[in-house]
């Protein structure tokens, strides 16, 4: 039976394993996984939602919960133990960083994902193309500047309640800002209520509190991703 890892938690007071999960204890850390007998499962959307539900349950039960990237497989319990033993200091540091904290996802969506192109008066096709291209570039710069303003405003409104912020400006045509806020669990509801839901030309969606997916990376992960 192979193990599909869900999350790491600190080994706090003895608790019953959440239904369907196996807890592998190693070096003061518990790795929560699901045993899967199927040799080559094909994952679908339900598997992703199940991953979120299981991690959310662990996050509710444990003060420090480090979600695993989906899907992370191990051949067996020994392989999982070896990985934890070899990187225990790194995992402990990451667990400390998210202890008692949760993630809020803030997504700012443009009301109109694309600026309308104003027809130019140029008669030559080449000139017309260049002017339209210029319009698009100016519009893109303007949107990017506006998105930065919105991201700054969100951080300002969130204020001192937020421990860390990661944000992407204009990650797609429809999205002005995609931000993740790491906040103490006790502040989450108040913070959600305080964040704006609309500004001129945009809608602002606030999701969560979620387990700290965005803040679960370790220094070693960042190195791997940058490779």
């Amino acid at each position: 039976v192979r193990l599909l890892l869900r999350a790491l938690t600190t080994a706090e007071a003895p608790r019953e394993a959440p239904p369907g999960l196996v807890g592998v204890h190693e070096a003061g850390i518990i790795a929560w996984a699901t045993g899967v007998a199927e040799p080559a499962p094909r994952f679908g959307r339900d598997d992703l939602l199940e991953q979120h539900q299981l991690i959310s349950r662990l996050h509710a039960q444990f003060e420090a919960c480090l979600p695993a990237r989906f899907p992370s497989w191990f051949a067996d319990e020994h392989a999982l133990r070896a990985e934890i033993r070899g990187r225990q200091a790194e995992f402990r540091t990451a667990l400390d960083a998210v202890q008692g904290r949760c993630e809020l996802a803030v997504t700012v969506l443009w009301d109109n994902p694309v600026d309308p192109v104003v027809p130019t008066e140029a008669s030559a096709p080449g000139t017309r193309y260049l002017r339209e291209r210029q319009q698009a570039l100016v519009g893109s710069d303007r949107r990017r500047a506006r998105a930065r303003e919105l991201a700054d405003e969100i951080e300002h409104v969130a204020g001192a309640d937020v421990v860390a912020v990661r944000r992407q400006v204009c990650p797609s045509a429809a999205v002005a800002v995609s931000a993740a806020l790491l906040a103490p669990r006790g502040c989450a509801d108040e913070l959600i209520a305080r964040l704006p839901r609309a500004r001129d030309g945009v809608r602002i969606l606030v999701n969560g509190p979620w387990p700290p997916y965005t803040f679960a990376d370790t220094g070693a992960d960042a190195g791997r991703q940058g490779a």
Binding site: G44, L66, W73, A105, S172, Y213
Partner: protein
């Protein structure tokens, strides 16, 4: 997961995604792109994840990352 598909006569970038769609895509992005990375036996095997849709870079990035990481494996 909701999939943002363009309607028949619509370019994918012309329709703003709904709130529910966007929330699910943000969640999918986190599940696939973030979280702690452990080097398991076969970290990536998500060819069957039905995330194929048009237009949103967040999940496209996730899919691209999966391909890159698959290629990096010995």
């Amino acid at each position: 997961l909701a999939v943002w598909r363009p309607v028949a006569d619509e370019s994918p970038i012309l329709r703003a995604p709904g709130a529910d769609e966007m929330s699910l895509l943000e969640l999918a992005d986190r599940l696939l792109n973030r979280g702690v990375v452990l080097t398991g036996e076969a970290t990536i095997s998500v060819a069957g994840v039905d995330l194929i849709y048009l237009g949103l870079n967040v999940v496209l990035t996730a899919v691209e990352n999966l391909h890159v990481r698959q290629l990096e494996r010995p």
